[in-house]
Subunit: 266 residues, 2 copies
Amino acid sequence: MKIPRSHPRYESLVRREQLVRAWKEGIVAPEGLIAHGRGEAWDYLFGEGTSAPALVAERAAAAYLVSARRPVISVNGNVAALGGRDVVQLAKAIPARIEVNLFHRSEDRVKRIVRLLERFGAKDVLGLRPNARIPGLASRRALSHREGIFSADVVLVPLEDGDRAEALARMKKTVISIDLNPLSRTSQRSTIPVVDELSRALKNIEKFVKELRSDPKEVARLRRGYARADNLRAVYSFLQWRLDRLRRGVPARSRPGRKRASLRKT
Amino acid sequence: MKIPRSHPRYESLVRREQLVRAWKEGIVAPEGLIAHGRGEAWDYLFGEGTSAPALVAERAAAAYLVSARRPVISVNGNVAALGGRDVVQLAKAIPARIEVNLFHRSEDRVKRIVRLLERFGAKDVLGLRPNARIPGLASRRALSHREGIFSADVVLVPLEDGDRAEALARMKKTVISIDLNPLSRTSQRSTIPVVDELSRALKNIEKFVKELRSDPKEVARLRRGYARADNLRAVYSFLQWRLDRLRRGVPARSRPGRKRASLRKT
C-alpha cells in the first residue's frame, strides 16, 4: 500500500509498514509487533514529536556517551528494523561498539540483524559469539560479550526489556534507555530515560554528540546538571497538557507546514 | 511460557499469549498484533480495569442492543481471538446475529474465524458469502451481508477500523464501538463509544443485557439518558486523574485482593 506523503500520520504509517516487512524477513519477532503497537499509542499521545523534556534527556545522553570509556549500543529486532541506519551513524559519531541482544533470541535472527547493520556500514558488530553472562537474568537473556555490553561503562538500550535494563543498572553501568512509555520498568530503572520515539531520539542524540565532542566543559556541565526525577516529572506534565488539549478538541497534532491532523485511529 | 497467576499483570500477559497463538493459527493478521499493542498501552493507562464512564456506556449499549430490531455483532481476527467466547454468549443473550468482517480479508481467515465461533456454540455465522456493499468503502472492505450488517439497525463493532465505523454511522445505524482509545476515529464517530478492554466490555454488556431484557421502562430511560459527549468527557477526566496518580508515584494499578502492582513495562 502506497501512503501519500501528505497523510498527517505519514511517518507513523511508514514505520508500521517497515516493521511488518522486517517481521516477514525474520528480523522482528511477533512480540516485537505488539511492542511496537504500544509505542504507537504512546507516540500518538505525545503528538508524534519530541517533547522539550525528551530533548533535555537526549542532550544529557549525548554528554554521557561522548565521555564514556567503553560505550556500547544494544540492538534488538525492532531497533534494527526501525533505526538500524541511525544506530550505525550514532555509533560512528561517538564512537561506540554495537552489540545485538535479543529477548526472543535465535541464532538465525542475530545473524540477520548483524548482516543488516553491516549493510548500513557497521563494523565488528558483536552478538554472535557471546562469552559472558549478565548476573540476575535467566537463560539466554543473560548472554553478552565481554568486549561489549558486559564491560561497558555506558550502555544505550533502545526499546529494552525491563528485566535487562534493571540488571544492567545493578551492574552500576550508566544505562540510557529510549522508550516512549515513561511508566515502563525500563524508563523507571535506567539512569537516563529518554522518552521519545526511537528514530527521532537516535538522530537527536547523534546531533548532540557531534556538537559536544569538542566541548568537554559543556559535557561536564550537562553531566552535573541532568536531574532524572525532575526530567521525568516534566514528561508527565507534558503528557497531561497534551491530554487536556485533546480533551478540548485541539487537533491531535499540529506542526508548522503540515496539514491540520484530524482525529485518527491510533 | 507459564505466567504465574500472582503476576500483577496476569490477564494482560495471558491475552498477549492468546493473541500470538491465534496469529500462529492464521486467525489474527500481523497488523492485528500491532493494533493489540496500542490497546495494551491504553489499557495500562486506564489501570487495566473498567472505568465508571465505560460502565455507563456499556449499560447504554445493552439498552440499544436489547431494543434493536436487527442487532448484529461484527467480528474480526482480534475479536475472535480475544473475545470469541464472550461474543457468542452475548449474541445468544440479546439475541443477535454474528458477522465476520475482516480489514485484511482472506477467505481462509474468514473460514477459520467462523469455525472458531462455531466451536464456542455460535450458529449461522455470516461472513463467507457477502451479498451487499457498504457505501463509501474501497474494495473488499465494503463486503457485507444483506441479512447481517448491511440491514442492521444496531451494530456492535468491537476493535473496528475508523473508516468502517464512519461508513456504518453514515448509513444511520446505531454504531456501538469497543475501543480503548477515546481519541480514535472509531470512538469519535460511533454512536456509543465504549472505551474499555474487549473482553471486560463484552462481559459487562452481556450482564446488562440480561438485566434489561425484562425491563423496557429502564431501557427507555437509558436510551433517553445517555449523553455521548458528556460520557467521553468523563473518560478524559478519568485518564487525567490516572496520569496524575501515576506522576505522583501511586502504583500503576491496585485492586482489592491483589498484590500491589509495581511499575511494569507496558
